[in-house]
């Protein structure tokens, strides 16, 4: 696989990502899609993030205790899962190919293993692959991410 573009970003949000979104990541990917004329049916995603579900999971249980399990607003629930940031980005960018979520720190998986996953994703009629590495939990809501775009050739 061949790296086409990569961008490192940091942003300060006004609250947890599940309330404020992942617009900086989405904007980068959507720009690449339009600039390169990519067919989103043929794009895949590998999302590495250890803490994507933390805020929503904690908030949901706090609210369940305060409001009672019969009355709590379930809005945070979909974002309490480790997979939720990847699902958010896939939906916002219309990524219809394989999406894999690895629960790990930024440097958890070896490049060797990521290459294998990418190779197998490219075998599934995918021409372009995004690899996003993100940290999405801290009390200051200061997030960072690296977004990369690869082709299979």
């Amino acid at each position: 696989m061949k790296l086409i573009q990569a961008q490192k970003i940091m942003w300060l949000a006004t609250g947890p990502w599940y309330k404020t979104g992942l617009q900086p990541i989405v904007e980068i990917i959507n720009n690449w899609i339009s600039n390169n004329g990519l067919d989103t049916n043929k794009t895949g995603l590998i999302f590495l993030c250890e803490d994507g579900g933390y805020d929503a999971c904690i908030d949901l249980w706090k609210m369940a205790i305060e409001q009672g399990v019969r009355f709590v607003n379930p809005a945070p629930f979909p974002y309490s899962l480790s997979s939720s940031p990847a699902g958010f980005v896939a939906k916002a960018c219309n990524i219809f190919g394989p999406a894999i979520i690895l629960v790990e720190k930024e440097n958890g998986s070896t490049q060797d293993e990521l290459d294998v996953y990418a190779h197998q994703i490219f075998l599934q009629e995918v021409t372009h692959l995004y690899i996003v590495k993100a940290t999405l939990y801290n009390s200051e809501y200061q997030y960072n991410s690296t977004v990369s775009l690869y082709t299979g050739q």
């Binding site: 999971c57 958010f88 394989p98 999406a99 894999i100 690895l102 060797d112 293993e113 996953y117 197998q120």
Partner: protein, 395 residues
């Protein structure tokens, strides 16, 4: 050499990915034979839960493992350890060889009880209790390779773990990989599904006319996987083969599947294409079958879209063991392997009268015999994650 072994050698290639060990922890039994027998007897572990009633939940049915005693925040760890121990024993891996074995765990939340304790004000290092943390602890317990992987693909995580393990083995990155899924019962998930009005009042009945939602479960299921060239050298018995994992994403809604089932169907086609087989080669589909109207309908539509000439049998087991989220499709993969070994499809749990009809889609209402070489294990998850795993006979 026995006839059986000769036949095995002709069916398997050196680079075939074989399963040589399996282990489970389920609400219906804590070994593979007990679990399998309970499914054949069409038993269900779904029942009212006193603690959920005491907490004030409207829906109090769930399927839980009664025999396991552990600290709440280590329940996933203990479930995984017990299931993996069984898999290691069956595969006859030498304890001295475990330090070259990689671990891939699929899970939704890791130890959700730890996150609940944190929300209640306890000081807990969360990184030790997410899926990655659980994987590291399991690897340390068995002295496996420390570079574990955690696949956090929610309710389809078991399929992803087993499928990605096959990818790594195919490239000869490891000699053996232990892969599967684990999920302890989660009160947070019970709140989420209940308040999202996705929960069944009396226990889930996937694909049945009276289906009214899902029921939560818990469990763990793991397999030992390796290349046949390696397994044969150490005289390990191949239980089944992993052929291909097909993946797509709906990119449609945070929780609901796309009603058309188009992308689900595409994940199935991708798996069949990579395995170089077609729909009529499949003995049966182990459905995701969560029991909600939205999920069952999308899945039904996906199966209708499959190009087939023969009747396609399907069955699901969340009506017996509930939905164990990250462990679910790993548990269902074990059912697929057992069915290939015994040539029996256990009756679909909770399904009496199908909610839709199609002459080419045959729900398995009673235990049925089958002869085909392949089974398809499908699993779908929040975020529109779709997966289909082709599992085949070893011999």
């Amino acid at each position: 050499m026995s006839t059986f072994k000769l036949k095995m050698l002709t069916m398997l290639q050196p680079d075939s990915i074989v399963i040589t060990g399996m282990g489970v922890m389920t609400p219906l039994g804590n070994t593979v034979p007990i679990f399998w027998e309970a499914l054949l007897q069409q038993r269900s572990a779904i029942e009212p839960q006193e603690d959920l009633a005491a907490l004030g939940f409207k829906h109090i049915y769930a399927a839980r493992i009664k025999e396991l005693i552990s600290l709440p925040e280590n329940r996933g760890l203990e479930l995984a350890k017990t299931a993996i121990q069984q898999a290691i024993e069956q595969s006859k891996l030498n304890p001295g060889d475990l330090n070259s074995v990689k671990l891939i765990i699929g899970t939704t939340m890791g130890e959700s009880a730890a996150f609940e304790s944190f929300a209640e004000g306890q000081s807990i290092p969360l990184g030790q209790y997410n899926g990655n943390g659980v994987a590291k602890k399991v690897a340390a317990h068995f002295q496996l390779l420390p570079n574990t992987t955690c696949v956090g693909t929610a309710c389809a995580a078991g399929n992803y773990a087993i499928g990605t393990a096959a990818w790594l083995l195919k490239e000869k990155k490891y000699k053996q990989i232990i892969a599967g899924g684990v999920e302890p019962f989660s009160k947070t998930a019970h709140v989420g599904f209940s308040r999202s009005r996705a929960m069944s009042a009396t226990g889930c009945k996937p694909f049945d006319k009276s289906h009214d939602g899902m029921t939560l479960g818990e469990g763990a299921a793991f397999v030992v996987m390796e290349l046949w060239e390696n397994a044969s050298k150490r005289k390990a018995f191949p239980l089944a083969q992993i052929h291909a994992l097909g993946l797509t994403c709906d990119a449609f809604h945070p929780t609901a599947p796309h009603p058309s089932g188009i992308k689900m169907s595409k994940s199935i086609y991708s798996a069949l294409r990579l395995a170089q087989i077609n729909t009529d080669d499949i003995g049966w589909i182990c459905i995701h079958g969560s029991g909600t109207e939205a999920s069952d309908t999308a899945e039904w539509n996906a199966m209708q879209l499959m190009d087939k000439k023969e009747r396609l049998h399907f069955a699901g087991y969340k009506g017996a063991i509930g939905h164990s989220l990250g462990a679910a499709s790993a548990l269902e993969a074990i059912v697929c392997i057992q069915s290939l070994l015994h040539k029996i499809i256990p009756a679909s749990a909770g399904l009496n009268e199908p909610f839709m009809r199609n002459d080419l889609l045959a729900p398995v209402l009673q235990n049925e015999r089958f002869e085909k070489r392949y089974v398809l294990n499908t699993a779908y998850a929040f975020g529109g994650l779709n997966s289909a795993l082709v599992i085949g006979k070893a011999g």
